[in-house]
Assembly symmetry: C2
Homo-oligomer: 397 residues x 2
């Protein structure tokens, strides 16, 4: 209970915390097989390497690392990040186009803080990442879903929505989307950048899964087609080095970066220098490309195992076939209720996330999100068998 | 320039970044003696110890440290923080009364996000910490200054302001205040807690300097008198271990903590686990009390040196005589303009912060803040001699 006379902010009306974070608490039960969450595999977390990197960095530059740093980032990290991004992407990036973030999650918060007013419209995919939907809602944004197909956002629907709603931003996860695993088709990327320039809205391109590709060819980010600087690109080391460090980055127009840096002063002043220093060392020593090469085969194997299990699910089960990332999205026949199935699945020792949480307008109770990265192959086989049987029972009731 | 059609948020009207952060850029000039900033001494930053702690923690518990963590904190850190606080303070603290923060700066942001609406009134000391004033302004709070004397906030003025403005919060730095170095008298602390209960407003008690005491007796925090849970206590390891790690904490009513945790989900999901793990190890191994004992004598000596120099300043120079913390506040005779003197001082190789930035209503151009912790004794003597001569020149023009 709040102290007498104290009330929470209007922006907290209807905000109750992320459904996924609440589900995490259920997972504490020993032996639980979790297809919920979006955690990297424990095997993929390079803790011995990071122990050495942290140790070396603190001995070599510890006085600077432990002192107050610049909001604009720990200088060696900014340098190695800039070098890494300049070789990874084909669009020009100046040092004043970069801002280190405390996880790319923070980027959405800073963009909302610096660029939105309550009641502004944000166009989002439907379904989309629920954590960032919550952030948008705390900033009292009006979320308008844009229809997608298996190749991502539909351009005609997007333009209709832009004309009808005059949005401040489009929030899009173009590659191995959360929760669907889908990738925005190459030929839809340039038109989105052009539409942003034409109508004067921002595109927040959230791209944390990009480097976890198990098949197919890498596509250029929307940012590569951005001639007018309307695209704000968010990247992260959470899925390829460690989420616990909380290090991501934003690439944007210099004035957008400057405003977000002011917003960041009040949020956390700067991202923890030791976290930036560890990622700096990882990049500087050239450890990232071989690390990604080392973790991708196991992720591919897990995805394939999950897809093979899904092929044995009851008739009428539809699901995405991602080329990368961490998630598969399942659509069961109408009438199936994933929320009800969730409670029963947890009793049988398996967790997932009901899909309804990812839809801006709710509904879609016959959908669910499955994560494969954080389970072993035996857990995937065992857990999926439990779900298959449970779902079959539920469908034949 | 922002991209076409893009405008910043209304809440950014008049927000131009912290004056102190801008001053930091001036300090890059080699040989500059800086009495600006609030940096701990480089000598006081335990980088070799932290190198060992980071290494050990990442080997022993690295898979958990590098994985996503709970917004409510890295469990071993929450445990050791709880033990540390329970022995340091005489008020009861439950585990659900604690939230780790990415620096106590984040606490102000979360409290604003979860508990204030635009146009709410926040009572603040005058002068007060400018970084947090900027945060309050970004949340479109109306800042109402409450008069203070050398013993902190005047209780009758506070009650008048509470009745007149029905504030949402009082923001107060009770111990070795920033920028004045003053400490709120013991006998004013309990009445503030009682007033908060009587009138139903929150007290945000920001107490990062508390352990840097060079003389006198420690006083109970306002929180110790808080029977009604209106006091939100913010602590930090920035001044006693490292600001670059960005680790602080909030102690508050469980429902306030729960709302701030929801706000934190969207801000950075959780504080960097490696930063929490280093502070955990520091606490767990009992390193903090001896470390504080080790750094306090040098800080005391620096404060004494600065006060001795100030005693030789031109007639009419008034200044505070703090019992701890990092700052001395100087009031020059009327007509002196610290902003003009600042530019000249920088040319002569010495920096400070003009006091006007710390006043919610501006003015007070004859005041300035001096930091002594981040300079050597010779730098203090040299730098203060330069300021003394410059200020004498300015007064006799």
């Amino acid at each position: 209970m709040l102290p007498s006379g104290v009330t929470y902010a209007d922006r907290f009306e209807g905000i109750s915390g992320s459904a996924i974070r609440a589900i995490f608490k259920v997972l504490a039960k020993p032996g639980m097989i979790s297809f919920a969450g979006g955690n990297p595999s424990s095997d993929a977390l390079p803790n011995e390497t990071c122990a050495e990197l942290a140790h070396d960095a603190l001995l070599a530059d510890g006085k600077r690392i432990l002192q107050y740093g610049a909001t604009e980032g720990y200088p060696p990290f900014v340098e190695s990040l800039h070098a890494y991004l300049s070789s990874a992407y084909r669009f020009p990036i100046g040092l004043d186009n970069l801002l280190p973030l405390s996880g790319s999650t923070q980027g959405i918060d800073l963009m909302c803080k610096a660029f939105t007013n309550p009641g502004d419209t944000i166009l989002v995919e439907s379904p989309t990442f629920l954590g960032n939907m919550q952030t948008l809602r705390i900033y009292q944004q009006k979320l308008v879903p844009v229809a997608s197909d298996e190749n991502g956002i539909l351009l005609d629907k997007l333009e209709e929505a832009v004309i009808a709603h005059k949005p401040k931003m489009l929030y899009v996860i173009p590659t191995f989307q959360n929760p669907t695993g889908r990738t925005l088709a190459a030929e839809r990327r340039k038109p989105i950048a052009e539409m942003a320039a034409k109508y004067g809205f921002l595109v927040v391109e959230d791209d944390p899964y990009r480097d976890l590709r198990y098949s197919g060819t890498p596509l250029p980010p929307i940012k590569e087609y951005d001639r007018s600087e309307h695209v704000v690109y968010m990247g992260s080391f959470s899925k390829i080095i460690s989420p616990g460090l909380r290090v991501g980055y934003m690439i944007a127009n210099a004035e957008i970066i400057a405003k977000c840096a002011i917003a960041k002063q009040g949020s956390d002043l700067h991202t923890s220098n030791i976290a930036q220093a560890i990622v700096d060392q990882f990049l500087r020593r050239g450890l990232l490309p071989p690390h990604i090469q080392a973790i991708v085969p196991a992720y591919r194997e897990k995805l394939d195992a999950m897809l093979a299990e899904l092929a044995t699910f009851p008739e009428g089960t539809a699901y995405t076939r991602p080329e990368g990332g961490l998630f598969v999205f399942v659509t069961m026949p109408e009438g199936f209720h994933a929320g009800e199935a969730f409670s029963m699945a947890v009793e049988r020792g398996v967790a997932f996330v009901p899909g309804t949480s990812f839809y801006p307008d709710g509904g879609h109770h016959n959908t669910l999100r499955l994560n494969f990265s954080n389970s072993t192959l035996p857990q995937i086989h065992t857990g999926m068998a439990i779900l298959r049987d449970l779902f079959a029972e539920r469908l034949h009731q």
